[in-house]
Amino acid sequence: MKLHIKPALARDLLVLFALTGWALAIPYFGSEFMVSMALTCLMYAALASSWSLFCGTTRYLSLATAAFFGVGAYTGAILLEQIGWFGAITLGAAVAAAVAVVMGAAVLHLRGTYFAVLTFGMTELIRHAITWWEKQVTGTVGRVLAVVPERDTVYLTVLALAVAAIGVSIMVRRSRFGLAMAGIGADEQRAQTLGVNTRLVKIGGFALTAAFAGAVGAAMSARWTYIDPATVFNPFIGFQTVLIALIGGAATLWGPLIAAVVFSLLAETLRLQAPQVYMMSLGLLLILCVLYLPGGLASLRTATFGQWRDDTSQWWRERTRAGKKGAR
């Protein structure tokens, strides 16, 4: 076989490499505020990219990101002191993936709204189960992480996870596994009749997504140093991941990353001064994207603006024509 790197692959890898370089440099010259913002940015880049990896290609809209994130955060928080940083991250990913396998086996035969609602319901179930456990058994509400790694270790870990999420997406898109998921997204039954074991592929993809969310959760719990079910299972984590992915373009490779940057900037600049404005701009962006840019921000091209201009001028012409008719 000839070694043959396709131009698109070379481009993707180059972009990823360059972005990683920039992100690596931030802790050395950036202010505390800037690093914190970059960390949020990377967290959502990792969550949204890994979410799109499965949900964007198969079109199974999962709202369970918060469940995996929280499970990872708790695993990390409980075991960090015994098994170390690397162990905590790995185990956070593994436990989240295991939860995803069980959850996936139960609900991945459903589609559309049913699937979305059930994943959300299961997230709430897990949140309440852990709250109950903490109150009844361990007698606490939250947990304080006493010994945590330095800021830069957390930053570099989340960066590594974000790079891994995009790197894995690049590879999966070119693999049989990626083809199978794309087939499921386009026409699941047709893919089945062509020999795809859709159940296995879906559970595998769901677990892969969950592993990333779990690892990010484990890393972020060390950053936050205090966790309780309400923060780490916050459904908003799941919603925001979905919003970012959809606005950026869940079917694209770079969309989730682009939107994650936009969101984090918006979030950090607006949330403190004007939290309502932040939520409103989120909603507005989503509405505009769904109506005028269904492929997400990543599908924006110079030609798109031309198309909008033509559409608007046509709409204007029809309106004025209708107006004249009405006048007569």
Binding site: A182, A186, D187, R190, T193, L194, G195, V196, T198
Partner: protein
């Protein structure tokens, strides 16, 4: 061969709620057969196909592929056992190129199956179905009759032993139907495929197949050569009636 039929349905019944769509149909298909299935609208032809390819679960009855029990298995297992199908309304992956649509089957069910040289790779399959010139186009952009051919190509890419064709000639012109029939004959002769072909237009089908199964209200009412079937009283009554009697 192990003496078993390629595919065998034993008293296959499919119920949707109270409606019995397929009622205890038994049939065995031998290697290299070219079989037609006919029946009026709602006779259960497509549902029977869905059962034969695992797309619909049978309510009772059994399915065997070369003696192996496949009842209740999911569709990909049928594909891996060499049972391929097309859908009545073409279900191609519209956003992928024509070539990538063929590649899909080769990547999954067709991956580890023995291939005749005619089904060696993407290019040979495209050549076989006559879509080599459209290879680079998105599958959503080709004409409906080309999509029908692509459906067949996608099924062939799974390197099947049995091909289930659901109304592949519907809506085609007379010339196109003839071409389609020749392609199907050729697949059977050169690939030694078993072909089961549903068609609504009976007269077309009877010209090309060697054996006909007639379904009526979910039941099998006749099974034999076209000449035998058209003389079958129940068939004439149920379905062919005027059409056949009036034909010169």
């Amino acid at each position: 061969m192990n003496g078993h039929p390629l595919l065998e349905a034993r008293a296959v019944t499919v119920r949707f709620g109270g409606l019995v769509a397929v009622d205890a149909v038994s049939a065995a298909f031998a290697p290299g057969e070219l079989v037609g299935i006919i029946g009026p609208n709602g006779a259960g032809k497509t549902t029977f196909f869905n059962a034969l390819s695992g797309v619909v679960e049978v309510s009772s009855g059994e399915l065997f592929a070369q003696g192996r029990r496949l009842t209740g298995a999911s569709p990909h297992r049928y594909a891996h056992h060499g049972i391929a199908r097309t859908f009545q309304t073409p279900r191609v992956f519209a956003e992928l190129s024509v070539a990538a649509n063929i590649d899909f089957g080769l990547q999954f069910a067709g991956r580890k199956r023995d291939a005749s040289w005619l089904l060696k790779d993407e290019a040979s399959i495209l050549h076989l179905i006559g879509l080599a010139a459209q290879a680079g186009l998105p599958a959503g952009a080709i004409t409906p009759s080309q999509q029908r051919l692509l459906e067949i190509g996608m099924a062939l890419a799974t390197r099947p032993r049995l091909l289930l064709l659901d109304e592949v000639a519907a809506g085609l012109t007379e010339g196109e139907v003839d071409q389609m029939a020749q392609l199907i004959r050729r697949l059977r002769d050169e690939l030694d495929l078993t072909v089961i072909w549903i068609e609504h237009a009976v007269t077309t089908l009877l010209n090309y197949v060697e054996r006909v199964i007639v379904l009526h209200q979910g039941r099998k009412i006749a099974d034999g050569t076209p000449a035998e079937v058209v003389r079958h009283a129940e068939v004439v009554d149920a379905y062919l009636g005027d059409e056949m009697v009036e034909a010169p």
